[in-house]
Amino acid sequence: MQDGGRNGRQVMIADVGNSNLSRLKYALQSLGHTPVEASTGSAIAEAPLAIITGSGDLNRSFQHIRNSGLAEGLSARAQAKLPTLAIGLGALIYCEGFADGQFMGAGLGYLPGIVRRLPDQGIRGETLINPHLGWSDVEVLNPSPLLSEGAAFYFAHERVIDAGARWGDEVMAQAHHTLVFPAIVRRDALIGVQFHPELSGASGLKLLSAFCAPTAS
């Protein structure tokens, strides 16, 4: 679905809970794309290009996507291997499961790993800063057009993906805050990012632009 002339494309955007859709919307507009807010699961299921974002409480978010039918749409587009960028909590709900101390259960299961809380204490009892807040350097493991080596992105999160034994090709980039964790995970056309590209200045706009480029798969 092309729109807006030039290389502008229509991008379906969806919020899985309490996120700041307006920033994402404006970032896409400034790149010449046309964001469309999705409200139903079927709209998400079929969009050629979609960005899923969210912040806040994992449990509440999961109830929300189950009750609203968004969950089916999110699963359907992952199964259909449609290009999808999942940001923050949006990426976490796509993982295999949750064990964050408050909420245990299965995730949608299309991205690798279990979601855990960042540790509050180190092994010697020292206090560790949680949430992870600010600009962290992202280390590229598998090169892609999405980012260049040495780029910093804005993170704001309390939970991370524990990729465990799956720490292989599917983890495209990593970051470090109290522990090393996946910053970008990818399976087929589904890309999950732990940081917020819509708040990450030029690096973030470049990532969004690369994701929306017609050549991106």
């Binding site: 806040g56 409480d57 800063i129 600010g134």
Partner: protein, 409 residues
């Protein structure tokens, strides 16, 4: 590595920025969006906007301003001041604020923090208080230091962290006489070592060294206020010194920063008067300056005053650029404009430097030179002590690299 953040703070009254600014005459000094864009282009890591009006003049009556900020700023924006209820906080977070900063209301009633954090996550809640040092402890004050809250700041900070704050900002109020300029390093050190969450300090930072010293105490963020706006201290210089001292800092790149200002195609009206609208697609091919006079109107209009023209990456229309040059405006260019200019000058014989990098950097230099009021603003006060003070960092500040993310409890 988690980079340390330099956060310019803009103080607002009824939606208008108050204070003295080195850029006056170049942009509308009362418009928060223009300041925010300038700081974004200079490499600010985040922006804090504090509204001093009461709830009746507060942020909820200015959602249009929040939307304009959201549309033009691509780094995190924190809104503070007059946020007294969870519903107000939620409204602002939904309208485009990335974080809210709770002040007096969270000192009076820390449970408010939990109400906001429960809904939006701890990462989106900052809390802040002004403090004064008394007998080896810090106490919270309201109303610019006039009204004591009778609360120990660090005890409150710990309570705020328990309630779900993601970051704590304590700002020392300048003492009347005899106090040394700079941040309260003892406070910075204590916060960084005792609080389980990210800490930020504000205060009278007047040199790059002051900022670096505060970061070396372990705080995650330092807030820059009046001295930054007035040009007493300079954001790119702060970051350069941070890098020199091996404080983790987001790499600043002039070109990247300029690319960051993407102007075209955003719905809320671009509010910067001297910025011409993005040229329509068909006008994108570079034109020479003898094009239709109609097309030169935007730049001609701003010729009346000493304008600054900040162009987005897509604005490659050389006509606009060249007429701005003729109008003696300062032009900040991205790489594409530089190329467009190079082409245009070939055909018109105008004298504009054509080397890409030079244009960009020259333009930035010009902006500084033109905008700094008086030589004092860029005096050696900034650079001189930078090196002289190198060794005088407080001795108990821990080695930076080891301190990266951990601290002793």
């Amino acid at each position: 590595m988690l980079n340390r953040r330099v956060i310019p703070r803009l103080d607002l009254e009824d939606g208008k920025v108050v204070g003295t600014f080195r850029y006056e005459g170049h942009l509308d000094p009362s418009d928060p969006v223009q300041h925010a864009r300038l700081y974004q282009s200079l490499g600010a890591d985040e922006l804090l906007l504090w509204e001093h009006g009461g709830p009746e003049q507060g942020w909820t009556t200015r959602l249009d301003l929040v939307a304009r900020l959201a549309a033009q700023i691509h780094i995190p924006v924190v809104l503070g001041g007059a946020i007294n209820t969870a519903s107000t906080a939620r409204e602002l977070l939904n309208a485009g604020a990335d974080r809210v900063c709770l002040g007096e209301a969270a000192v009076e009633r820390p449970a408010l923090i939990a109400e906001v954090a429960g809904l939006s996550g701890r990462a989106r809640v900052m809390v802040a208080a002004d403090v004064k040092r008394r007998m080896g402890a810090w106490y919270i004050f309201f109303d610019h230091g006039r009204r004591p809250a009778r609360k120990d700041a660090l005890q409150w900070a710990e309570e705020a962290a328990r309630q779900g704050a993601g970051e704590i900002l304590l700002t020392t109020i300048k003492k009347d006489t005899g106090s040394r300029a700079g941040f309260d390093l003892s406070l910075a050190h204590t916060m960084a070592n005792e609080l389980p969450i990210s800490s930020a300090v504000g205060g009278d930072g007047r040199t790059s060294v002051h900022f670096a010293e505060a970061f070396e105490c372990g705080v995650q963020a330092v807030i820059g206020g009046a001295p930054l706006h007035e040009g007493v201290v300079d954001l790119p210089k702060i970051k350069a010194l941070m890098a020199e001292r091996e404080i983790p800092v987001r790499p600043p790149s002039i070109e990247e920063a300029l690319d960051d200002i993407v102007v075209g195609g955003v719905t809320p009206e671009a509010p910067i008067p001297p910025t011409p609208a993005a040229p329509p697609p068909e006008a994108k091919t570079p034109k020479t300056s003898d094009a239709d006079p109609e097309e030169r109107a935007p730049a001609q209009e701003m010729a009346g005053e000493d304008a600054t023209l900040i162009l987005g990456a897509e604005q490659t229309d050389a006509t606009v650029i060249l007429s701005a040059e003729q109008a003696d405006a300062t032009v900040i260019l991205g790489a594409e404009q530089a190329e467009a200019i190079a082409k245009a000058t070939e055909s018109t014989g105008a004298t504009v430097s054509t080397a890409k990098g030079e244009i960009i950097e020259d333009a930035l230099d010009n902006l500084w030179e033109d905008t700094v009021s008086g030589a004092a603003a860029f005096s050696d006060d900034d650079d001189g002590p930078t090196h002289a003070d190198d060794e005088t960092t407080i001795s108990d500040a821990p080695a930076f690299v080891e301190k990266a993310d951990t601290k002793k409890s």
